[in-house]
């Protein structure tokens, strides 16, 4: 039972990161590969504050969000000057730089050694240790993030973001501040990604930079694309699919050495397949126009 609840926590955590990526990329279709970096900033901020100063989650969480937002602001100002493929390459670069900092700034992050012994979350004098308590805590924050994302989607900002994905220049001609909207969504998304980051740090109690590599960003991106870009519930379904299917492989009797590779191949193949299927609609439309 604990094992199943553990998987639920992970599905919720990764669903939350994919949801935050949806805020940055789902509406505008500007794909960001820096999200794992912001997820990591949230995790590291919490881990450092909790282990060195013993601060509680209720303080660390907003601080982690603030730090992630502060890091994301210059990134957004720089990266959002580019478009399309260049934006992806640019954010990929930001992801690599964030990872390098986590991996190499020994004094702050202890580098590849990671930060062990992150204390349990204390809520109202009560330590959150049992798995079902974690499900409730992460579930509550998931609901909060979902609520924020939904409101962004329905707000004026959200509509500008969707308009950007359709035709940026036309949107600009309507007098909308396109670049401001893009920066806002990017920074908001980074702040939202810090929430699962902080929870992740407390939940696994040990973090190291390998959890926040560019491959993790690709994993998060596949969750978002498989769930459907801009589709908020889709992220949760896709996260469940991407985490539970490889776990199921474990019961088939794959050795653990191979399981990690098979898991990655699965999500790589799923990414290609989903894009191909989505594209078949475009192909059909093109064929219809031609005939």
């Amino acid at each position: 039972m604990d094992y199943i609840l553990h998987l639920v926590v992970f599905v919720l955590l990764y669903g939350m990161v994919a949801l935050s990526l949806n805020v940055a990329s789902g509406f505008t279709q500007l794909i960001s590969l820096a999200q794992a970096g912001f997820f990591g900033v949230g995790a590291y901020t919490t881990a450092i504050l909790a282990t060195r100063y013993g601060w509680p989650l209720l303080v660390n969480l907003p601080l982690g969000m603030a730090v992630a937002g502060l890091v994301a602001l210059p990134v957004a100002l720089v990266a959002l000057r580019t478009v399309e493929d260049y934006f992806i390459i640019c954010t990929m670069g930001m992801g690599v730089i964030l990872f390098s900092v986590m991996n190499n700034w020994m004094e702050l992050t202890r580098g590849p050694m990671g930060i062990p012994g992150i204390p349990a979350v204390m809520l109202f004098e009560h330590p959150v240790i049992a798995k079902w308590e974690w499900v409730l805590l992460v579930g509550a924050l998931y609901a909060a993030v979902l609520w924020v994302a939904r409101n962004i989607k329905r707000s004026a900002l959200g509509r500008v973001l969707v308009a950007i994905s359709e035709d940026e220049i036309f949107c600009q001609s309507l007098g909308k501040n396109v670049s401001l909207a893009k920066v806002q969504s990017f920074v908001l998304a980074a702040m939202l990604a810090a929430i699962p980051g902080a929870l992740y740090a407390h939940y696994v109690t040990y973090i190291d930079p390998t959890s926040f590599t560019i491959h993790e960003s690709i994993f998060i991106l596949s969750i978002m694309i498989i769930g459907g870009m801009g589709n908020l519930w889709g992220s949760l379904v896709a996260a469940a699919f991407m985490i539970l299917v490889p776990e199921a492989l474990r019961f088939v009797g794959l050795p653990s050495g191979i399981a990690a590779n098979v898991r990655q191949m699965l999500y790589g193949a799923a990414l290609v397949l989903v894009i191909w299927l989505q594209h078949s609609k475009v192909r059909a439309a093109n064929a219809a126009v031609r005939s």
Binding site: Q29, I31, V78, A79, R81, T82, V83, E84, D85, Y86, I88, I89, C90, M92, G93, M94, V96, I97, S100, V101, N103, N104, E168, I169, I214, H215, I218, L221, S222, I225, I258, N261, V262, Q264, M265, Y267, G268, A269, A270, L271, V272, I275, W276, H279, V282, R283, N286
Partner: protein
Amino acid sequence: MSFERSFRVVDKIGVTQVLINSLSGACLYLLIGVSFWLIYAPTKTFFVSHAAAITFGAYACYWFNQYFGLPLPTAVCLAAIAVALGFAAVENALFQSLRGDSKSWVGLVASIGLYVVLQNIISLGFGDDTLVLRQGTITVGQKIGHAYVTWVQTLMIIVGGVLFVSTIMLLSTTRLGRGIRGVASNPDLCVLLGLNVDRITLWSIGMGSALAAVAGILSALDSDMTPTMGFRLLLNGVIVMIIAGAGSIRGFAWAALLLSMAQHLAAYFLDAKWMDTVAFIILIGFLIWKPLGFAEQRLKKVEL
């Protein structure tokens, strides 16, 4: 006192050594940059799976060399041909099936998926441990002034330089090369003129993959190989292509030299671990202040 004097000697060695390392690194980046351009130019897609071509080249060479006992030059040729055929087939199929989508990220993201699959095939086949392609013992290499140049570095400079120059020659003199440049600048016009655009694209991808395979082998000879080696090398190649601008020869040479020099200076003065960071800082700087690269020609819509 003696410490200070020895420090000064070390410093003198350092400068020459940084220059030699930068030059051999630049030749490697040049090769990868051009190989990536050959794939990007006709497809207008950033094929991240090109990183797998680099890795597959090194591992195929290792396989031919170790399991079949073929001599290294034969193994290199076979690996390049095998990678060219395989990647031309796979990447062309992906490109053709995703063609005509208005969203440009589609091809890039699909190729990321393809890369993840291919990289894990290597991991499953050869394991994640570092493999050594180089035979015999490691030698310090030839002494030039105060610095040393290894035979792999010499090989990199020669092979990288020769392949780069011959690719440029091929692009400017042969029918196929002109075809590739034509498709790169305007595929629709090429169709009107009766060129077989699909076949030219296929050839271009094949050539790019073969060059990438050679680059992978050179890199593996120099610093051994892991299943993820291609990704870092590709990023450097992409950076070279972007800051070079639209396929100008001088642009490529300057870009590769600038990138390699900056990385090796960072490795020398700071630490080797900051090399990736420096590469991306250069890229980001270029995207902001000089989005058209050295060549000042528009590669594609870079910014609004």
